[in-house]
C-alpha cells in the first residue's frame, strides 16, 4: 500500500503502526462476540488510512486497542515502535486520540476546553500561544473562542475535539468516526484539516468511518466487516475490478421502482439502486451481462458511470459469499427473495384520497428564543416518498416529531391524513406507522413479545393477531429469531423488527426517522426494497435522512438547514439546480453544499 503514499517511505523509517494477528472478543451476557479476528496491517509514516465498515465491524475496538485502552486477547500491536501491550502509557503520551464522542466540557468555552487539554497533555506555557494560533486558524474557530462548547454546531464540536487532540503535535492521530452526524460542508472541512496536518506536520492519520463514500478520500483503505478485514489497499484498487460494469439505466415506459425491482431479481445484476430518475446497476463479472440486460429490457438506455467504493463493498460481500445477487440480504437465507412481493398482498391499498396526505403550512417551532423550525410549508401526495434531508440540528427531527404529534407546534398548520395527530382522537393514530432513528422497541423482550405488544396496541386480537404476527414473521424473515431478546440482535435484524412493528396494523402513512443510520449497505438496500414495495401499493412514506444517497429514493425532497427549507423538488431537480460550468453533473452532496453556501451568502 506504500505505492500511493505521498511521502515515499525510506527503508530506515519505521512503520507507524503494525498489527499482527490481533484478536479481541467480548462477553455479551452468555454469548462470546468476536469483535476482531486475526487482524493484521501496517501503516507507514504520512499515511492517511481509513478503517471502513458498517456498525459492528470492529472499528472502534481496533482504535481502542491501538490507543492502549483495551488489551488484545491475542496478537501484537506496535505503535511508533512501542509495544502497546507492554507500555500503553508511553504510547498514549505520543499519539492523539479522538474517540467517537470526544469529551468536550459543554459548560466550558472553546478556549477553556483547549486550555484544559493543554494542561492535561503538559504542554509548556511558552509553546501554547503559537500552537493555539495554528489550531484556531486551521479549524476556523478563532471567532468562537469565547463561546460555550455546548453551543457549537455538530461540525464545530468535532473540529474543536480535533484541535484538543492535536494540542501537542502528535506523530500519529486516531480519529474514531470524526464525520458522524456532521453536515457535508463540515465534513469537507474536516478532511481538509486532516490533509493539512499530514502535509504540514508530517502526522500519520488512522481514521474510521461508516460512510463508504469517504473511502475515496483516504490514501489507504482497510475494509472491515464483522471483525475481519475484507480487503485492503488504495481506494482505486477497490473500484478497479468494477470498471465497465457500472451503468445508469432507464427504460422508457417502466417506472424506476419497477425497473429496480425487476433488475434486482436478475442473476447478472449485482446491485440496482435508484439514482434520481435512473437506476444505477452493477453488473456481474460475466462478459454477456450487459447483453443479457439489454435483451431483457428492450429500449433500455445504459450510460456507463464511474464505479464507486460502495459498489465494491456490495460486490465483495454478495459475490464473496456466493449468494444469488437478487437476495436483498447478506444474512444467510433469512429473507426469501420474494419477501417484498409477499408483503404487497398483505397490505390493503388505502382508499385513494384526492388531496395531499400530509400538509404543512407555515409550520414553526420555537424553543425559547430559538427557532428549531421556521415557517416551513410542504405537502405530500398519496403513494409518494417524501424526504427531509439535512444535517443534525437542521430541524428535520423536530418537524418529524410535530407531524407524529409528539411535540406541540408553536405556529402554522399541519395535517396528517386530515388530522393534527396531537389533538386528534387516538384512533387517528392507527393510520400511521412510525419507526425511529435508534432502535426503539423493547430490548429485553423477545421478538415475539414485541410483536404481540404492538399488535395488541393497534387493536388486533385473538386469531387475527396471531395470523398477522405469523405473516410478519415470515415476511421479515424473523421466524428464526422469534424467541430471542430483541436487544441482542444484529442491527439489521433490529431494523427489520422495528419496521415489522411499525407495519403491524397496515398503516397507509409510514414515518421513518433516519431508518438506516448505521446499518450496512446491504441491509440498507433490503430496507429500501421493502419500502418501494409498500409505495407500489399506495402507502405514503415520510422519511428523514442525512444520507445523500438515500435521498435519491425519494419522489420529492426538501433540504433543510437551521430550521428552514432551502430547496424542494425531485432529487434530479435539486441536483441540477447546483450544476455549474465547472460541474455539469453534480451529486446530491454537491447540491447540498451549494445550497448551504448560497444560503449563508444571502445571510451575510
Amino acid at each position: 500500500m506504500s505505492a500511493t503514499s505521498a511521502i515515499a517511505p525510506m527503508t530506515s523509517v519505521p512503520d507507524v503502526l503494525v498489527l499482527k494477528n490481533v484478536s479481541k472478543s467480548f462477553h455479551a451476557g452468555k454469548r462470546l462476540i468476536g469483535a476482531l479476528q486475526a487482524v493484521s496491517f501496517t501503516m507507514q509514516p504520512g499515511a492517511v488510512m481509513g478503517l471502513i465498515g458498517p456498525d459492528g465491524a470492529g472499528k472502534t475496538t481496533l482504535m481502542r486497542l491501538v490507543a492502549g485502552l483495551l488489551r488484545p486477547d491475542d496478537g501484537e500491536i506496535r505503535v511508533l515502535g512501542i509495544d502497546v501491550g507492554k507500555d500503553p502509557q508511553s504510547v498514549q503520551s505520543s499519539i492523539g486520540y479522538m474517540p467517537q464522542r470526544f469529551g468536550l466540557y459543554e459548560d466550558l468555552t472553546v478556549q477553556e476546553n483547549l486550555d484544559l487539554y493543554t494542561d492535561l497533555q503538559g504542554v509548556l506555557p511558552r509553546d501554547r500561544a503559537k500552537r493555539y494560533g495554528e489550531l484556531m486558524r486551521m479549524t476556523n474557530l478563532e471567532t468562537f473562542r469565547g463561546r460555550l462548547a455546548g453551543r457549537l454546531s455538530g461540525g464545530m464540536k468535532q473540529k474543536l475535539g480535533l484541535a484538543c487532540a492535536l494540542v501537542r503535535s502528535p506523530r500519529l492521530i486516531l480519529l474514531d468516526e470524526p464525520t458522524v452526524g456532521v453536515d457535508p460542508v463540515s465534513r469537507r472541512e474536516l478532511w481538509a484539516i486532516v490533509y493539512r496536518l499530514v502535509e504540514n506536520e508530517g502526522v500519520s492519520v488512522l481514521l474510521s468511518t461508516a460512510y463508504l463514500d469517504e473511502a475515496q478520500r483516504c490514501r489507504d483503505v482497510v475494509l472491515m466487516s464483522e471483525g475481519r478485514i475484507l480487503h485492503q489497499g488504495p481506494p482505486d484498487q477497490f473500484t478497479q475490478p468494477l470498471t465497465g460494469r457500472t451503468f445508469q439505466m432507464r427504460v422508457p415506459g417502466i417506472t424506476r421502482r419497477t425497473l429496480m425491482r425487476e433488475l434486482a431479481q436478475r442473476p447478472e445484476v449485482v446491485d440496482a439502486i435508484i439514482i434520481g430518475d435512473d437506476v444505477r446497476v452493477v453488473l456481474s463479472r460475466t462478459a454477456e451481462a450487459q447483453k443479457q440486460v439489454t435483451a431483457a429490457f428492450p429500449g433500455a438506455v445504459l450510460v456507463p458511470v464511474p464505479p464507486r467504493f460502495e459498489d465494491s463493498f456490495v460486490d465483495t460481500l454478495r459475490v464473496g459469499k456466493g449468494e444469488p445477487p437478487p437476495t436483498p440480504s447478506a444474512k444467510p437465507a433469512a429473507v426469501p427473495p420474494a419477501a417484498p412481493v409477499a408483503m404487497v398482498k398483505t397490505i390493503v391499498p388505502p382508499a385513494k384520497a384526492a388531496g395531499p396526505v400530509i400538509e404543512v403550512k407555515n409550520l414553526t417551532k420555537q424553543f425559547g428564543a430559538f427557532y428549531a423550525v421556521h415557517d416551513i410549508s410542504f405537502s405530500v401526495a398519496p403513494g409518494k416518498i417524501f424526504g427531509l434531508l439535512g444535517a443534525n440540528g437542521a430541524g428535520k427531527s423536530t418537524t418529524f416529531r410535530m407531524l407524529c404529534g409528539l411535540l406541540p407546534i408553536s405556529g402554522g398548520m399541519l395535517r396528517v391524513a386530515g388530522y393534527d395527530l396531537r389533538t386528534a382522537r387516538a384512533v387517528a393514530r392507527s393510520r400511521v406507522g412510525y419507526m425511529s432513528q435508534k432502535f426503539s422497541l423493547y430490548g429485553n423482550l423477545s421478538v415475539m413479545e414485541n410483536l404481540r405488544f404492538f399488535a395488541s396496541a393497534y387493536g388486533l386480537m385473538g386469531r387475527n393477531r396471531s395470523r398477522r404476527i405469523d405473516d410478519v414473521l415470515g415476511e421479515f424473515g424473523l421466524s428464526a429469531v422469534a424467541d430471542m431478546n430483541s436487544g441482542g440482535l444484529p442491527l439489521g435484524f433490529k431494523q427489520r423488527l422495528a419496521l415489522a412493528a411499525a407495519l403491524m396494523h397496515k398503516p397507509d402513512i409510514l414515518f421513518l426517522d433516519e431508518p438506516t443510520s448505521g446499518v450496512d449497505p446491504l441491509a440498507r438496500r433490503e430496507f429500501w426494497h421493502r419500502i418501494n414495495a409498500l409505495v407500489d401499493v399506495g402507502v405514503t412514506i415520510m422519511v428523514t435522512t442525512h444520507f445523500m444517497e438515500e435521498a435519491e429514493y425519494c419522489d420529492e425532497l426538501a433540504i433543510m438547514a437551521v430550521g428552514r427549507i432551502l430547496s424542494m423538488g425531485t432529487p434530479s431537480q435539486i441536483r441540477h439546480s447546483a450544476s455549474t460550468l465547472a460541474n455539469t453533473n453534480p451529486t446530491m452532496e454537491d447540491a447540498f453544499i451549494h445550497l448551504i453556501d448560497s444560503s449563508q451568502r444571502k445571510v451575510a
Binding site: R401, C404, G405, L406, L407, P408, L421, R422, A426, V427, R429, S430, V432, Y434, S436, Q437, K438, F439, S440, L441, Y442, G443, N444, L445, E449, R452, F453, F454, S456, A457, Y458, G459, M461, N485, A501, F511
Partner: protein
Amino acid sequence: MAAIMRILALMIKEFLSLLKDKKSRFVIIVPPLVQLLVFGYAATYDLTRVPYAVYNEDTGGAARDLLADFHGSPYFHRVAVITHQQQIAPLIDNRRALVVVHIQRQFSRNLLSGRSGSVQVIVDGRNSNTALIALGYVRDIIVAFNLHWDADHHIAGPPAQLVTRAWFNPNLLSQWFVVPGIVGLLTLVVTMLVTALSVAREREQGTFDQLLVTPFTPVEILLGKALPGFIIGMAEATVMIVAAVWWFDVPLLGNLLTLYAGTVLFVLAAIGVGLAISAISATMQQGLLGAFLFLVPAIILSGFTTPIANMPQWVQWITLADPLRYFMVILRGVFLQATPWHLLVGQMWPMALIAAITLSVATWLFRHRSY
C-alpha cells in the same frame, strides 16, 4: 373492548420487562426482605446490656445488695470495677461504659441508721436519647431496691407510689412500634422505584415515542403503567404484614379490611407520585434521583421515628402532603389499637386526594412534557 385489550397488553409488557430483567427482579424482591429483617431488628429503642462500671467505696451489705441487683439485671452488663475517682473519666471517654455507678463510703451505714444514702450515677450524655433510657433503667433498679429495703426493714414506704401500665404495648417493646411502620416505609420504597423508572426508562430508550404514536390514550397508558405497580405494591405490603405478624409477633388486633382499604389508597398515592416523577424525567437517572428526593423527606416527615406533634408548626403543615404520614396512623392504629374504620376516615381521604392529584398530573405529563 379494544381499550381493555390495549391496557392488558401494556400490563403484560410491563411485567415482562420488569421480571425478565435480572436486576429489576432483584430490586423488587431481595432489598425489601433484607430491609424488613435488618430494620426490624436494628431500628429499636430498647437498650440491652448497658455497659456499666462500678466504683464502690462502701464495704457494707446494703451496697453489695444494690450492686447485686445491677449484676442480676439482663439490661446491664458490668465492664469494670474501679477503685479511684480518676478512673471514671477514661471509661466514659472511651465509650467503654455508658454508666458509672458510684456508691459513697457511708451508704450502708446511713441506710442502717435510717437515713438515706446517696448513689451517684454518671452517664455518657453524648447521645441524649440513649442516656435517658439508661437512666430510666437505673431509676427502676433503685426504686425496686428501695421498696425491698423498706419491706425488709419494716419501714413505711414513700407516701406516693408510681404504678404504670402501658396500654397497647404493655412491655413497651419498640419492635411493636417500629415494625408496622416499616411495612409502610418499604411498600413506599418499592412502589416508588417500580413506577418512577417505568416512564423514564421508556423515555431514555426512545420507546415512549413509539408508544405515543400508537392509539393508546394517556389514560390507557396510565392504567397500563399503574396496574403493575399496584399489584407489586399490594403484594409487597402483604408479604410485610405477614412477616410482621408471624415473624416479629406483632399483634394484629384490628380489622384486616380496614388495613387493606388504607393500603390500597396508600399504594395508589405512591404510584401517583412515582409516575408523576417518572413522567417529568427524561432519563432513568433523573427518575431515580427524583424518587429519592421524595422518599427521604417523606420518611422523616411521616412520624416513623419522631412524632409529628414534636415538629414545628410549619413543618407539620408540610407533612400534610406526605401520604406515608396517614398510612403510619392507619398501620399503628389497626395493628396495636384495633382502631375502627370510622375513626380512620380522616386518614383515608387525604391519601385518596393525593392519589387523584398526582395520577392526573402524571397523565397530563405523558403527552405534554416535551423534551
